[in-house]
Amino acid sequence: MIDLMQFTFMQRALVAASLTGAVCALIGVFVVFRGMSFIGAGISHASFGGVALGFVLNINPLYTAIGFCVLVAWLIGWVTEIGRLREDAAVGIFFASTMAMGVLLVSLIKGYQIDLFGYIFGNVLAISRNDLIAMAVLALLVFLVIFFFYKEFLLLTFDAEMAAVTGLPVKWLNFLMLTLMAFTIVLSIKAVGIVLVSALLVIPAASAVQLTAHFKKAIIYAVFIGVVSCWSGLFLSAFLNIASGATIVLTATAVFFICTFLSPQRRKMRRRIGTLVKTQNS
C-alpha cells in the first residue's frame, strides 16, 4: 500500500475519495430524513447533460456540470412549488429530459470519447489536479454552509411546517439545500460516477442512523462511514484492478448491513425476544 501511495494519482485519489465520502455523508443525513433521495438520483442523472455539454463546448465537464446541476435542482424546486406537482413527478420530468439532452449532445461529438465512461461509472484514479481543486472548493462550501445553518436545516428536516411558522425563510433554505445537493453530486461524479453517486448520498447516512439516536452523532458516524467506505473501495479497486466507483458503493453497502446487524435497537429487541422465549419455556 505504501508503494502505491508514492504515485501522485493515488494521493489525489485518496484526497478525492475522502472529500466525496465525507461530503456525501454529511448532506446525506439531511437528504435521508427529508425524503429527498429521489431528488439526489434525479440531479445526479441530470449531471450527464452538464458533463456532455462540457465535452461539446470543450470545457472541463465538472464546471459545466456545476451550473447545469444547480439549474436542474432549482427547476425541480420551482416546478414543485408552482406547478401543483409532487416532487417525484418534477424529478421524473428532469431526470429523463436532461439525460436525453446528454445523449443528444454526446451523439454530436465526433469520435470515441473514452473519458465519458469515467463520468458515468466513476474513475477515482483518473482525477486531475484541477478536478481536485474544484472538488475541494465545492466541499468547503458545503461544509461551511451546513455548519453555519445547522439549526435551520435541522428544524427544516425535522418539522418543515414548524420552521415556516417560526418565521424561518423556508423557501430560501429549501433552494439552498438543493444547491448544496447539486454541489455534492458534482464533486462526487469523478469518484463514483453519475449512475452511482446517489447511493453515496443515502447509504452512509442510513448506516449511521442504525447506530445512534442523536442527529449530530449520526452526522459524525455517517462522515466516518462515508470516508472509510471510500478508502476501502479505493484500495480494493486498486489491488484487484476493478472499477473504483462500483467497489466504493458495494463497500458502503456492506458497511450498511454490518451497521444494521450491530444496531443497538436491534440488539435490544433480540434480547427482549430472548427473554420472552425463556419466560415462556420456563
Binding site: 439549526k151 435551520e152 425535522f158 411546517e161 417560526t166 424561518l168 442527529f215 449520526a218
Partner: protein
C-alpha cells in the same frame, strides 16, 4: 377598545377549486381562550393555518397582532404553535431538549448558536409541562401524550403571548385528555396567554374555553359557550339530527341519531 390578537374579516379559503372556508369573520381578544369546534373536514385546521399565514385566503383580511400573518417578522416570536403530530417522523434521531430548543430557532437569529437564555427557556418550558426528566430521551420513543407535552414545551419555549393548538388530544386516551385540558386551563390562567384550540371534543372544551367558534365551512356560531352550544347550534354545525347528553348547561356528548340505512 383593545386591539384583537386575531382579527378575521370575511375570510374565504380554497384548495385548488374547492372552497373549504367561506366568509369567516371572527376576532380573538387578548387573554381569551377560543375553542374552534367542528366535524371532520369542516375547515378547522385550515382556519388555524390561515391565522398562521401557512395558507393564503382568496378573499377577506387576516390580521394577527394587527398585521398580515406573512408580515409579522419579529412578532412571530409571540406565537406558539402546537401542530398535529401526524407529520412528524418518529424515527428521527433527536432529543427532547433539542426539539424544544428548535422552537426558538428564529428567535436565536439566522446562523446563530443557542445562548444561555435559550437553554434556560428550554428548561423552564420542560418544567412547565413536567418533562424535565425526559430532556435527554429520543423524541420518537416517548408515548403520544409525552410527545404532545414536548411539542407544547417547544411552543412555550418562545414565551409566547398567543398559543395555538391543533387537536392536541388526538393521540391521548380520555383520562389523559381530561388532565391535559385541566393543565391547559391552569397554564392559561397562570401565564395570561391568549389560547386558540382546534378540537372536535365538544364536552371537555366547553368547560374551559371563554369563547367558541363552531365551524362547518362557514362560521355556524361564535360567542360564549352557553350561547353557542345549544342543540340548534350543534345541529347546524354537524349537519344532522343528534341527541345531546348534558353535564350541567352544556352538551357533553353528541350522538347522531341518523339511521345509517337511510344515508
Amino acid at each position: 377598545m383593545t386591539t384583537p390578537v386575531i382579527d378575521l374579516q370575511n375570510v374565504s379559503v380554497a384548495y385548488q377549486d374547492k372552497i373549504v372556508l367561506q366568509d369567516i369573520t371572527l376576532s380573538v381578544s387578548p387573554g381569551a381562550f377560543l375553542g374552534i369546534l367542528g366535524p371532520n373536514g369542516s375547515g378547522k385546521t385550515t382556519l388555524l393555518r390561515t391565522m398562521l399565514g401557512l395558507t393564503d385566503p382568496f378573499d377577506g383580511t387576516v390580521r394577527v397582532f394587527g398585521k398580515e400573518p406573512k408580515k409579522l417578522k419579529r412578532l412571530r416570536e409571540k406565537i406558539g404553535y402546537v401542530p398535529q403530530q401526524s407529520h412528524i417522523d418518529l424515527t428521527f434521531p433527536i432529543q427532547v431538549k433539542d426539539v424544544v430548543l428548535l422552537g426558538r430557532a428564529y428567535k436565536m437569529g439566522l446562523g446563530k448558536r443557542p445562548h444561555n437564555q435559550d437553554r434556560e427557556a428550554v428548561e423552564e418550558a420542560l418544567e412547565l409541562v413536567h418533562m424535565t426528566d425526559f430532556a435527554d430521551e429520543q423524541f420518537g420513543r416517548l408515548s403520544g401524550g409525552q410527545r404532545q407535552r414536548v411539542l407544547i414545551a417547544r411552543a412555550l419555549a418562545l414565551q409566547p403571548d398567543l398559543l395555538m393548538l391543533d387537536e392536541p388530544t388526538a393521540a391521548l386516551d380520555v383520562g389523559a385528555a381530561e388532565s391535559f385540558y385541566e393543565w391547559l386551563h391552569n397554564t392559561h390562567k397562570n401565564l395570561g396567554l391568549t389560547l386558540v384550540l382546534v378540537t372536535h371534543d365538544v364536552g371537555v372544551v366547553s368547560r374551559y374555553v371563554t369563547a367558541i367558534a363552531c365551524l362547518n365551512k362557514r362560521l355556524v356560531a361564535h360567542g360564549l359557550p352557553e350561547n353557542v352550544l345549544t342543540e340548534e347550534g350543534l345541529q347546524a354545525m354537524y349537519g344532522c339530527d343528534a341527541v345531546f347528553f348534558h353535564h350541567g348547561k352544556v352538551p357533553h356528548l353528541v350522538v347522531s341519531t341518523r339511521d345509517p340505512e337511510k344515508t
